[in-house]
Protein backbone atom coordinates (compact mmCIF):
# COMPACT_ATOMS: atom_id res chain seq x y z
CA UNK A 1 0.00 0.00 0.00
CA UNK A 2 1.45 3.38 -1.01
CA UNK A 3 1.21 6.50 1.09
CA UNK A 4 -1.12 8.13 -1.46
CA UNK A 5 -3.56 5.19 -1.44
CA UNK A 6 -3.66 5.28 2.41
CA UNK A 7 -4.51 8.97 2.28
CA UNK A 8 -7.23 8.21 -0.26
CA UNK A 9 -8.71 5.49 2.07
CA UNK A 10 -8.72 7.88 5.03
CA UNK A 11 -10.58 10.35 2.82
CA UNK A 12 -13.22 7.73 2.04
CA UNK A 13 -13.63 6.89 5.72
CA UNK A 14 -14.13 10.54 6.55
CA UNK A 15 -16.73 10.82 3.81
CA UNK A 16 -18.56 7.81 5.30
CA UNK A 17 -18.46 9.39 8.75
CA UNK A 18 -19.93 12.62 7.42
CA UNK A 19 -22.71 10.76 5.59
CA UNK A 20 -23.70 9.16 8.94
CA UNK A 21 -26.59 6.74 9.46
CA UNK A 22 -29.05 6.50 6.62
CA UNK A 23 -32.59 6.03 7.89
CA UNK A 24 -34.91 3.69 6.08
CA UNK A 25 -38.31 4.92 4.88
CA UNK A 26 -40.00 3.22 7.87
CA UNK A 27 -37.56 4.72 10.39
CA UNK A 28 -38.07 8.19 8.92
CA UNK A 29 -41.86 7.85 9.07
CA UNK A 30 -41.67 6.64 12.69
CA UNK A 31 -39.34 9.52 13.65
CA UNK A 32 -41.61 12.07 12.01
CA UNK A 33 -44.69 10.66 13.84
CA UNK A 34 -42.81 10.77 17.17
CA UNK A 35 -41.65 14.33 16.53
CA UNK A 36 -45.20 15.47 15.76
CA UNK A 37 -46.49 13.73 18.93
CA UNK A 38 -43.82 15.49 21.04
CA UNK A 39 -44.70 18.85 19.42
CA UNK A 40 -48.41 18.35 20.14
CA UNK A 41 -47.67 17.32 23.76
CA UNK A 42 -45.53 20.42 24.32
CA UNK A 43 -48.20 22.59 22.69
CA UNK A 44 -50.87 21.14 24.99
CA UNK A 45 -48.62 21.79 27.99
CA UNK A 46 -48.13 25.44 26.98
CA UNK A 47 -51.88 25.95 26.48
CA UNK A 48 -52.57 24.21 29.82
CA UNK A 49 -50.19 26.52 31.69
CA UNK A 50 -51.70 29.54 29.92
CA UNK A 51 -55.31 28.62 30.80
CA UNK A 52 -54.46 27.64 34.40
CA UNK A 53 -52.68 30.99 34.77
CA UNK A 54 -55.91 32.70 33.72
CA UNK A 55 -57.86 30.60 36.22
CA UNK A 56 -55.52 30.80 39.21
CA UNK A 57 -53.47 33.92 38.53
CA UNK A 58 -55.51 36.99 37.58
CA UNK A 59 -58.56 34.70 37.85
CA UNK A 60 -60.22 36.11 34.73
CA UNK A 61 -61.91 32.75 34.18
CA UNK A 62 -63.37 32.71 37.69
CA UNK A 63 -66.13 35.26 37.02
CA UNK A 64 -69.65 34.35 38.17
CA UNK A 65 -71.82 33.23 35.26
Amino acid sequence: MTISSTVKDVGKDEQKAITGVKLTEQQMRARRARSIAIAISLGVLVILFYIVTLVKGPAVLMRPL
Partner: protein
Protein backbone atom coordinates in the same frame (compact mmCIF):
# COMPACT_ATOMS: atom_id res chain seq x y z
CA UNK B 1 -8.41 3.66 28.11
CA UNK B 2 -10.65 1.86 25.65
CA UNK B 3 -14.16 2.65 24.59
CA UNK B 4 -16.68 0.13 23.31
CA UNK B 5 -18.91 1.37 20.58
CA UNK B 6 -22.35 -0.21 20.50
CA UNK B 7 -24.20 0.25 17.28
CA UNK B 8 -27.83 1.08 18.02
CA UNK B 9 -30.34 0.73 15.22
CA UNK B 10 -32.49 3.85 14.70
CA UNK B 11 -35.86 3.35 16.36
CA UNK B 12 -38.91 2.22 14.42
CA UNK B 13 -41.18 2.80 17.42
CA UNK B 14 -44.40 4.55 16.49
CA UNK B 15 -46.57 6.77 18.68
CA UNK B 16 -48.89 3.79 19.27
CA UNK B 17 -46.03 1.78 20.76
CA UNK B 18 -45.35 4.52 23.31
CA UNK B 19 -49.06 4.71 24.12
CA UNK B 20 -49.07 0.93 24.64
CA UNK B 21 -46.13 1.37 27.01
CA UNK B 22 -48.41 3.49 29.19
CA UNK B 23 -50.86 0.56 29.77
CA UNK B 24 -53.96 2.44 28.56
CA UNK B 25 -56.47 -0.04 30.04
CA UNK B 26 -54.97 0.21 33.53
CA UNK B 27 -54.71 3.96 33.02
CA UNK B 28 -58.43 4.26 32.21
CA UNK B 29 -59.41 2.59 35.52
CA UNK B 30 -56.91 4.78 37.41
CA UNK B 31 -58.32 7.95 35.80
CA UNK B 32 -61.89 6.85 36.47
CA UNK B 33 -61.33 6.12 40.18
CA UNK B 34 -59.36 9.38 40.54
CA UNK B 35 -62.22 11.23 38.84
CA UNK B 36 -64.70 9.76 41.35
CA UNK B 37 -62.41 10.75 44.24
CA UNK B 38 -62.25 14.26 42.82
CA UNK B 39 -66.01 14.54 42.26
CA UNK B 40 -67.18 13.20 45.64
CA UNK B 41 -64.94 15.67 47.48
CA UNK B 42 -67.14 18.26 49.21
CA UNK B 43 -65.55 21.33 47.60
CA UNK B 44 -66.01 23.41 44.46
CA UNK B 45 -63.23 22.80 42.00
CA UNK B 46 -62.73 24.73 38.78
CA UNK B 47 -63.21 22.32 35.84
CA UNK B 48 -59.89 23.39 34.27
CA UNK B 49 -58.01 22.55 37.47
CA UNK B 50 -59.93 19.26 37.75
CA UNK B 51 -59.07 18.35 34.14
CA UNK B 52 -55.42 19.30 34.75
CA UNK B 53 -55.33 17.00 37.79
CA UNK B 54 -56.80 14.11 35.78
CA UNK B 55 -54.33 14.61 32.91
CA UNK B 56 -51.43 14.58 35.38
CA UNK B 57 -52.76 11.45 37.13
CA UNK B 58 -53.22 9.74 33.73
CA UNK B 59 -49.68 10.63 32.63
CA UNK B 60 -48.27 9.59 36.02
CA UNK B 61 -50.06 6.22 35.77
CA UNK B 62 -48.69 5.85 32.22
CA UNK B 63 -45.18 6.61 33.47
CA UNK B 64 -45.50 3.91 36.15
CA UNK B 65 -46.72 1.48 33.46
CA UNK B 66 -43.77 2.31 31.18
CA UNK B 67 -41.25 1.85 34.00
CA UNK B 68 -42.92 -1.45 34.94
CA UNK B 69 -42.62 -2.65 31.33
CA UNK B 70 -38.98 -1.51 31.23
CA UNK B 71 -38.06 -3.49 34.35
CA UNK B 72 -40.21 -6.53 33.59
CA UNK B 73 -39.26 -6.92 29.91
CA UNK B 74 -37.55 -10.26 30.65
CA UNK B 75 -40.66 -11.63 32.41
CA UNK B 76 -42.98 -10.24 29.71
CA UNK B 77 -40.97 -12.01 26.99
CA UNK B 78 -41.67 -15.38 28.67
CA UNK B 79 -45.43 -14.95 29.11
CA UNK B 80 -47.92 -15.44 26.24
CA UNK B 81 -50.14 -12.60 27.52
CA UNK B 82 -47.32 -10.04 27.48
CA UNK B 83 -44.83 -11.28 24.85
CA UNK B 84 -46.13 -8.84 22.22
CA UNK B 85 -45.57 -5.76 24.41
CA UNK B 86 -43.32 -3.13 22.74
CA UNK B 87 -40.06 -4.00 24.55
CA UNK B 88 -40.08 -7.84 24.32
CA UNK B 89 -41.34 -7.52 20.72
CA UNK B 90 -38.30 -5.33 19.93
CA UNK B 91 -40.22 -2.24 18.85
CA UNK B 92 -38.91 -0.06 21.70
CA UNK B 93 -35.41 -0.32 23.21
CA UNK B 94 -35.32 -0.72 27.03
CA UNK B 95 -33.36 2.53 27.40
CA UNK B 96 -35.98 4.44 25.41
CA UNK B 97 -38.75 3.09 27.67
CA UNK B 98 -36.77 4.02 30.79
CA UNK B 99 -36.18 7.58 29.55
CA UNK B 100 -39.83 7.90 28.51
CA UNK B 101 -41.08 6.65 31.91
CA UNK B 102 -38.74 8.80 34.00
CA UNK B 103 -39.53 11.93 31.94
CA UNK B 104 -43.28 11.44 32.25
CA UNK B 105 -43.07 10.56 35.97
CA UNK B 106 -41.12 13.70 36.84
CA UNK B 107 -43.19 15.84 34.45
CA UNK B 108 -46.57 14.68 35.77
CA UNK B 109 -45.61 15.19 39.43
CA UNK B 110 -44.07 18.64 38.81
CA UNK B 111 -47.01 19.87 36.73
CA UNK B 112 -49.54 18.54 39.28
CA UNK B 113 -47.62 20.29 42.06
CA UNK B 114 -47.36 23.59 40.17
CA UNK B 115 -50.87 23.75 38.72
CA UNK B 116 -53.01 21.92 41.31
CA UNK B 117 -51.51 21.43 44.77
CA UNK B 118 -48.42 19.92 46.47
CA UNK B 119 -50.28 17.21 48.43
CA UNK B 120 -51.82 15.71 45.28
CA UNK B 121 -48.37 15.83 43.63
CA UNK B 122 -46.78 14.12 46.64
CA UNK B 123 -49.41 11.37 46.58
CA UNK B 124 -48.87 10.87 42.83
CA UNK B 125 -45.10 10.63 43.42
CA UNK B 126 -45.68 8.07 46.19
CA UNK B 127 -48.01 6.07 43.92
CA UNK B 128 -45.49 5.94 41.06
CA UNK B 129 -42.59 5.15 43.42
CA UNK B 130 -44.59 2.47 45.22
CA UNK B 131 -45.62 0.79 41.97
CA UNK B 132 -42.17 0.88 40.42
CA UNK B 133 -39.82 0.45 43.41
CA UNK B 134 -41.87 -1.54 45.95
CA UNK B 135 -44.10 -3.64 43.68
CA UNK B 136 -42.19 -4.05 40.40
CA UNK B 137 -38.57 -4.06 41.57
CA UNK B 138 -38.88 -5.53 45.06
CA UNK B 139 -41.98 -7.64 45.71
CA UNK B 140 -43.13 -8.99 42.34
CA UNK B 141 -40.30 -11.50 41.94
CA UNK B 142 -39.91 -12.32 45.63
CA UNK B 143 -43.19 -13.00 47.38
CA UNK B 144 -46.70 -14.32 46.65
CA UNK B 145 -47.97 -11.29 48.59
CA UNK B 146 -46.66 -9.09 45.74
CA UNK B 147 -50.07 -7.98 44.50
CA UNK B 148 -51.53 -7.65 48.02
CA UNK B 149 -48.97 -5.03 49.08
CA UNK B 150 -48.50 -3.67 45.55
CA UNK B 151 -52.24 -3.11 45.35
CA UNK B 152 -51.72 -0.01 47.47
CA UNK B 153 -50.35 1.77 44.40
CA UNK B 154 -53.47 1.02 42.37
CA UNK B 155 -55.66 2.01 45.32
CA UNK B 156 -54.25 5.51 45.76
CA UNK B 157 -55.76 7.35 42.72
CA UNK B 158 -59.12 8.21 44.42
CA UNK B 159 -57.11 9.74 47.28
CA UNK B 160 -55.05 11.73 44.75
CA UNK B 161 -58.30 12.98 43.16
CA UNK B 162 -59.69 13.94 46.57
CA UNK B 163 -56.41 15.65 47.53
CA UNK B 164 -56.41 17.54 44.21
CA UNK B 165 -59.87 18.92 45.04
CA UNK B 166 -59.47 19.59 48.75
CA UNK B 167 -55.73 19.82 49.45
CA UNK B 168 -56.21 17.27 52.24
CA UNK B 169 -57.03 13.59 52.90
CA UNK B 170 -60.06 12.42 54.91
CA UNK B 171 -61.86 9.21 55.95
CA UNK B 172 -63.86 8.98 52.71
CA UNK B 173 -60.89 8.71 50.30
CA UNK B 174 -59.29 6.24 52.75
CA UNK B 175 -62.43 4.08 52.42
CA UNK B 176 -62.12 4.27 48.62
CA UNK B 177 -58.47 3.31 48.97
CA UNK B 178 -59.43 0.28 51.10
CA UNK B 179 -62.10 -0.84 48.61
CA UNK B 180 -59.56 -0.99 45.75
CA UNK B 181 -56.89 -2.43 48.06
CA UNK B 182 -59.08 -5.40 49.05
CA UNK B 183 -60.44 -5.75 45.49
CA UNK B 184 -56.95 -6.24 43.99
CA UNK B 185 -56.08 -9.74 45.36
CA UNK B 186 -59.26 -11.57 44.22
CA UNK B 187 -59.04 -9.75 40.86
CA UNK B 188 -55.42 -10.73 40.12
CA UNK B 189 -55.58 -14.17 41.72
CA UNK B 190 -58.60 -15.02 39.53
CA UNK B 191 -56.43 -14.11 36.51
CA UNK B 192 -53.42 -16.01 37.83
CA UNK B 193 -55.52 -19.18 38.32
CA UNK B 194 -55.99 -19.59 34.57
CA UNK B 195 -52.56 -18.18 33.71
CA UNK B 196 -50.66 -20.21 36.30
CA UNK B 197 -48.44 -21.86 33.66
CA UNK B 198 -47.42 -18.46 32.30
CA UNK B 199 -46.43 -17.17 35.74
CA UNK B 200 -44.57 -20.39 36.60
CA UNK B 201 -42.58 -20.21 33.32
CA UNK B 202 -41.71 -16.58 33.97
CA UNK B 203 -40.64 -17.37 37.54
CA UNK B 204 -43.14 -14.95 39.10
CA UNK B 205 -44.16 -16.29 42.54
CA UNK B 206 -47.88 -15.67 42.22
CA UNK B 207 -49.98 -17.37 44.92
CA UNK B 208 -51.15 -20.37 42.77
CA UNK B 209 -47.53 -21.02 41.74
CA UNK B 210 -46.17 -20.94 45.29
CA UNK B 211 -49.05 -22.04 47.54
CA UNK B 212 -51.13 -24.01 45.05
CA UNK B 213 -54.53 -23.49 43.47
CA UNK B 214 -56.56 -24.70 46.48
CA UNK B 215 -55.00 -22.13 48.81
CA UNK B 216 -55.49 -19.40 46.17
CA UNK B 217 -59.19 -20.25 45.87
CA UNK B 218 -59.58 -20.04 49.67
CA UNK B 219 -57.77 -16.67 49.75
CA UNK B 220 -59.98 -15.35 46.94
CA UNK B 221 -63.10 -16.20 48.98
CA UNK B 222 -61.63 -14.62 52.15
CA UNK B 223 -60.75 -11.35 50.40
CA UNK B 224 -64.16 -11.26 48.66
CA UNK B 225 -65.86 -11.74 52.03
CA UNK B 226 -63.88 -8.78 53.37
CA UNK B 227 -64.49 -6.65 50.29
CA UNK B 228 -68.29 -7.05 50.10
CA UNK B 229 -69.12 -5.39 53.46
CA UNK B 230 -66.23 -2.94 53.13
CA UNK B 231 -67.61 -1.55 49.87
CA UNK B 232 -70.88 -0.79 51.69
CA UNK B 233 -68.99 1.19 54.38
CA UNK B 234 -69.38 4.62 52.66
CA UNK B 235 -73.17 4.12 52.98
CA UNK B 236 -73.02 2.74 56.56
CA UNK B 237 -70.85 5.68 57.67
CA UNK B 238 -73.16 8.19 55.98
CA UNK B 239 -70.88 9.29 53.14
CA UNK B 240 -73.19 7.86 50.46
CA UNK B 241 -76.93 7.31 50.07
CA UNK B 242 -79.13 4.22 50.05
CA UNK B 243 -78.76 3.80 46.25
CA UNK B 244 -75.04 3.27 46.68
CA UNK B 245 -75.57 1.00 49.71
CA UNK B 246 -77.98 -1.30 47.87
CA UNK B 247 -75.84 -1.53 44.71
CA UNK B 248 -72.65 -2.12 46.73
CA UNK B 249 -74.29 -4.90 48.77
CA UNK B 250 -75.87 -6.64 45.75
CA UNK B 251 -72.68 -6.39 43.66
CA UNK B 252 -70.63 -7.55 46.67
CA UNK B 253 -72.93 -10.56 47.15
CA UNK B 254 -72.53 -11.47 43.44
CA UNK B 255 -68.76 -11.22 43.79
CA UNK B 256 -68.83 -13.56 46.79
CA UNK B 257 -71.05 -16.02 44.88
CA UNK B 258 -68.59 -16.05 41.93
CA UNK B 259 -65.68 -16.47 44.36
CA UNK B 260 -67.47 -19.41 46.01
CA UNK B 261 -67.98 -20.94 42.56
CA UNK B 262 -64.24 -20.65 41.96
CA UNK B 263 -63.74 -22.50 45.24
CA UNK B 264 -66.38 -25.12 44.39
CA UNK B 265 -64.76 -25.84 41.00
CA UNK B 266 -61.62 -27.04 42.79
CA UNK B 267 -60.85 -30.53 41.51
CA UNK B 268 -63.18 -30.38 38.48
CA UNK B 269 -62.19 -30.34 34.79
CA UNK B 270 -59.65 -27.71 33.72
CA UNK B 271 -62.15 -26.08 31.36
CA UNK B 272 -64.83 -25.46 34.00
CA UNK B 273 -62.18 -24.42 36.55
CA UNK B 274 -60.84 -21.82 34.14
CA UNK B 275 -64.33 -20.68 33.21
CA UNK B 276 -65.18 -19.93 36.85
CA UNK B 277 -61.91 -17.98 37.28
CA UNK B 278 -62.46 -16.04 34.04
CA UNK B 279 -66.01 -15.15 35.12
CA UNK B 280 -64.75 -13.84 38.47
CA UNK B 281 -61.95 -11.87 36.77
CA UNK B 282 -64.34 -10.24 34.26
CA UNK B 283 -66.96 -9.51 36.94
CA UNK B 284 -64.35 -8.01 39.29
CA UNK B 285 -63.55 -5.32 36.68
CA UNK B 286 -67.25 -4.59 36.19
CA UNK B 287 -67.73 -4.62 40.00
CA UNK B 288 -65.13 -1.92 40.65
CA UNK B 289 -66.44 0.21 37.79
CA UNK B 290 -70.03 -0.19 39.04
CA UNK B 291 -69.27 0.63 42.69
CA UNK B 292 -67.37 3.79 41.78
CA UNK B 293 -69.89 4.83 39.09
CA UNK B 294 -72.79 4.53 41.55
CA UNK B 295 -70.81 6.42 44.18
CA UNK B 296 -70.36 9.20 41.61
CA UNK B 297 -74.04 9.24 40.64
CA UNK B 298 -75.05 9.13 44.30
CA UNK B 299 -72.77 12.07 45.08
CA UNK B 300 -74.10 14.11 42.15
CA UNK B 301 -77.70 13.30 43.14
CA UNK B 302 -77.08 14.35 46.74
CA UNK B 303 -75.68 17.76 45.83
CA UNK B 304 -76.32 18.55 42.16
CA UNK B 305 -76.16 22.36 42.32
CA UNK B 306 -72.80 22.47 44.05
CA UNK B 307 -71.37 19.94 41.57
CA UNK B 308 -72.64 21.79 38.50
CA UNK B 309 -71.39 25.11 39.89
CA UNK B 310 -68.03 23.44 40.44
Amino acid sequence: MSATLVRVEPSIAGVGDYLELMKPRVMSLVVFTAFVGLMVAPVHMHPVIGLTALICIAVGAGAAGALNMWYDADIDARMARTASRPIPAGRIAPGEALAFGVTLAIGSVVVLGLLVNPLAAALLAVTIAFYVLIYTMWLKRRTPHNIVVGGAAGALPPAIGWAAATGSVAVEPILLFLIIFFWTPPHFWALSLYRVGDYARAGVPMLPVVAGEAETRRQIVLYSLLLAPLSAAPWVLGYAGALYGVVALVAGALLVVLALRVLAEQGSEAESRHLASKRLFAFSIFYLFLVFAVLLVDGLAANPIARIAA
